[in-house]
């Protein structure tokens, strides 16, 4: 079953020095699976996610032959319809909990806000569900964390709270934009484990956006590699070793790892032809 279909998506920003095409004709479909989008800064991976979410800045132009989420044409949907989708049926986790959570609202209040925006439920029931959700993201003392402000919790805890906030309404599609890049390495694994379990248990579609090809491939079923606003390669994670595009191979090889002795490290020789 196709949850999301994207066909020839373009996102263009008008700037003083001319039009900048951040996304140039991206096409893919997504079912209830885990899809990774990988690329460097400026490759258009985040703008692709934001366009699906409807968070592209006002001045940008979006065009696509098709941008459909479970039968709804996202390009024709009104602001009101998109608001009804966001948080309820499509959720998004951002990179840094320090900047993405509301600093003057307790974590519990923020989760309840999401719930009460989309569902008519009593304060008490909302509180109950928020606490259950905090427990589901493996926060040990949900009652205490519920009343804390974002600055009072660690990065890992903040990121769990953001996951809780996004999943509390039970969305069908989750977009995670660098969900663990701001976290310590050992905490990263905890957060990924939690995310992995919830996505599997609830049968969501997941788009995982990151610059770390290895991480993405270990987490997702399928990987899309983007360069300069285009998809240069798409392949199942299992076949990553047989990637054909030199850019994908470059991304795979450039990471220093324990036990490999490569001096100097291989670097990417970027070629103009990849842009085309």
């Amino acid at each position: 079953m196709t949850l999301l279909s994207v066909d020839n998506l373009r996102v263009t920003f008008p700037t003083r020095t001319g039009r900048v095409e951040a996304v140039r004709g991206v096409s893919f479909t997504l079912g209830k699976e885990r899809l990774g989008i990988v690329g460097e800064s400026g490759s258009g991976k985040s703008q692709t996610g934001r366009a699906i979410m409807g968070l592209t800045p006002k001045q940008a132009e979006i065009s696509a032959d098709r941008l459909e989420f479970s039968g709804i044409d996202l390009l024709k949907a009104s602001d009101k319809e998109r608001r009804a989708l966001r948080g309820r049926r499509v959720g998004m986790i951002l990179q840094d909990p320090k900047y993405s959570l509301n600093p003057v609202m307790t974590i519990g209040r923020q989760i309840i806000e999401t719930l009460q925006t989309h569902e008519r439920i009593s304060n008490r029931e909302a509180r109950e569900r928020a606490l259950v959700m905090l427990e589901a993201v493996q926060i040990r003392d949900p009652g205490r964390v519920f009343d804390l402000y974002p600055h009072e919790v660690s990065g890992g805890m903040g990121q769990r709270a953001m996951i809780a906030m996004m999943l509390v309404c039970g969305p069908e599609l989750l977009i995670a934009d660098e969900p663990t890049s701001a976290l310590d390495v050992t905490v990263q694994l905890d957060v990924l484990n939690i995310l992995d379990k919830l996505v599997a248990d609830r049968g969501m579609g997941l788009i995982f956006i990151s610059h770390d090809l290895r991480l993405v491939s270990s987490f997702c079923d399928r990987v899309i590699v983007m360069y300069a606003g285009r998809i240069v390669e798409e392949l199942p994670s299992a076949d990553l070793k047989s990637a054909k595009h030199p850019y994908t191979q470059g991304l795979l090889n450039c990471l220093p790892t324990v036990g490999s002795d490569r001096h100097p490290l291989p670097t990417l020789e970027r070629q103009e032809a990849w842009r085309l």
Binding site: V185, G259, L268
Partner: protein
């Protein structure tokens, strides 16, 4: 053995009631590349900053090439020998100074002559050509900014380079370029590196020895090879190693 380039004995740093460094001792030999791994709050950056004089230490001693330095305050000669590169290339360059001005300042402070040629050579060494000379930092990418930060550190011809997560704000592909640049500079100039990172892969690639830090203490000091042979004792080192291997579904 020769005199250590950096010798720290029982260094303690306290912020109000919080002990950030608990009597840490390390010795880095000349021309050695020494790594420190640890997570946020382990005290690894505090250690570098205490060496550089950016925060004071309460107890312990610091010796650079045999010369003892006090808990606070560093003389000019110190900064001729020791330079630092910071994590965030967006925060560590003056936003209203051109690259030229940024590189001129350390030269002026230390009374170097022939500044024109030195600036041109410094830019060349970090692979940025003179075309970048009159740009502001906001006109550069993250990787280019980090190259400027490295050029600024190297331009006073230091002997010891303190590197505080020099690549963790960069893309994986740019990281490789910066690491190669640093290795090249170390070979060309016989530099001593003291490098801090949370990434075990980066530290084991760059360093001859590494210390694992946690909660303000050095858990253990090992050789990068012993990570491969699993020849280490601390459980925390194992945790870091597992984490560096990436996500695995059980």
């Amino acid at each position: 053995m020769s005199e250590p380039a950096v010798l720290i004995r029982d260094m303690r740093v306290v912020f109000d009631d919080y002990m950030a460094l608990k009597d840490v001792s390390i010795a880095v030999q000349p021309k050695e590349s020494f790594g420190i791994v640890g997570e946020s709050g382990s005290g690894k950056s505090t250690l570098l900053r205490a060496i550089a004089g950016l925060n004071a230490f309460e107890a312990g001693t610091l010796e650079i090439n045999g010369k003892t330095y006090p808990a606070r305050g560093r003389d000019k000669a110190f900064y001729r020998t020791v330079q630092m590169v910071f994590q965030d290339p967006y925060g560590s360059l003056h936003p209203r100074q051109t690259v030229d001005r940024l590189l001129l300042e350390p030269l002026a402070i230390h009374g170097f002559d022939n500044t024109e040629a030195r600036i041109a050579r410094a830019l060349d060494e970090v692979g940025l050509g003179t075309g970048f000379r009159f740009r502001y930092s906001h006109q550069l990418s993250g990787g280019q900014r980090q190259r400027i930060a490295i050029a600024r550190a190297l331009i006073v011809e230091p002997k010891i380079l303190l590197l505080d997560e020099p690549t963790s704000a960069l893309d994986a592909s740019i990281q490789a370029e910066i690491l190669n640049l640093l290795e090249q500079a170390r070979r060309d100039r016989d530099l001593t590196f003291l490098m801090v990172s949370h990434d075990l892969g980066v530290v084991s690639h760059m360093c001859d020895r590494l210390a694992v830090m946690r909660g303000g203490e050095v858990v253990e000091t090992i050789l990068p090879d012993s990570l491969v042979t699993r020849d280490f004792s601390a459980d925390y080192t194992r945790q870091l190693l597992v984490a560096s291997e990436g996500f695995r579904r059980d």
